[in-house]
Symmetry: C2
Subunit: 246 residues, 2 copies
């Protein structure tokens, strides 16, 4: 079972269709697909939703609409509200980074989890907050704590997506360079730097420590080391054929 | 020094002013303030930028514009590009979660860090990628990997903001409940549940294990325990005055 499928994003009375569309796209970016709309207002016209959803229009088309939050939560076993404000009922808020992995684990055991987001201007009302088993608050800067609705949904969904461990990072195609090749590379560079006149024999030990430091920070793979050895090889050839003046 | 001030968000040839505005708001939400615009296109009209920036218009007003990426990067000591695609030059991409703390540390030691984001449709061009010391890729679902520009900026900035450890979570106002009060609470509930006829004496030990489990999951603080003891106290009073039939 894909635990992400057990999450339902519930938007309560969203004012702007553009935000609904952006929410759809953010959900698709993170592998979520269930959206519920409670009494959407869409003062900017419904067409904006489709425009902002881009290639996630399928989520928009499939999203059921409800008159009340209670109806939207009928099949939810865990209801998680989001709040930007402190105060009443809100001192037990959790943060997405720590809490989403727990929700994902519960969804993986079959729990239907509703993540509830309030209206753009006033958030969730107190009676809506009371319907929530848990509250989360997304950390933001005190200078401007209010996130755009779709941005808030994205941060929650992305945390879930990372927890689900679906993403496969591009694979480093080269193996880590073994110590033997590293030594060989440094030896070639020493020879090269002497041959070009970059350093004198008596300074070589000291200078090579710098190159060892630079290479160990910058050159991790066998490919990297092979490139550096290629530079040394070619430069020594050039230095032999056109000796550098000292 | 506030390390976040050493980050510069560089948008290369953004198509939509609305996205520029949303970027400003996302930056303010995360405590960043330096924005640079390289050859902005703004096919939707510049006014959209101000509308979407909301209370972050100051960032928009202060953002310098440049004709070329090179000019925008003139004072950058570390240039970090963002890419959604794999392929050429891109197999060494890093992810924000692991990499942003390192960048923040370098910014804290005085490095000017430019985070470069490409155009909405084609991202950064290969010659722009070559100007970057590092590349990051934001993990997304393979079904729809392409993030909206402002959403991508938000995920990077929010990772920086969390790393900077500025956010103060709402403080739990009640102390954790000590074991003695927990025991006292359970004893009161045992008495109450016997008094109301909810359980018989011979089942009490077994049943109280369930309440211990529920309370230890759900009631963490002294406030919680005091509420539960209040319930027991009041219920026993009610049971005495109106005995429950068995």
């Amino acid at each position: 079972m894909n635990a992400l499928e057990n999450f339902n994003i519930v938007l309560v009375a969203p004012l702007y269709a553009a935000n609904i569309g952006s929410v759809c796209r953010a959900m698709a970016n993170c592998g979520l697909s269930r959206l519920s709309l409670v009494a959407p207002q869409c003062v900017d016209g419904w067409a904006e939703a489709g425009r902002l959803a881009c290639h996630a229009g399928g989520i928009l088309d499939a999203a059921p609409r409800f008159d009340t939050l209670d109806e939207a939560l009928a099949d939810a076993s865990i209801v998680v509200g989001t709040t930007a404000r402190d105060g009443l009922y809100r001192q037990h808020v959790k943060q997405p980074r720590g809490f989403m992995p727990k929700l994902l684990e519960q969804a993986g055991r079959g729990a239907n989890v509703a993540l509830v987001f309030g209206r753009e201007d006033t958030g969730l009302l107190n009676e809506e907050i009371l319907r929530c088993n848990h509250l989360i608050q997304i950390p933001t800067h005190p200078g401007y704590p209010s996130l755009n609705l779709a941005q808030a949904v994205l941060l929650c969904c992305h945390e879930l997506f990372l927890s689900a461990d679906i993403y496969e990072a591009p694979v480093e195609k080269s193996d880590f360079a073994p110590a033997r090749q590293r030594e060989q590379c440094l030896a070639m560079w020493r020879e090269m730097l002497l041959a070009t006149g970059f350093m004198q024999q008596e300074k070589a030990d000291h200078m090579m420590q710098a190159f060892q430091r630079i290479f160990s920070r910058g050159a991790e793979t066998l490919d990297d080391i092979n490139i550096l050895m290629g530079v040394a090889r070619q430069t020594m050839w050039a230095a032999r054929n056109a000796p550098v003046s000292k």
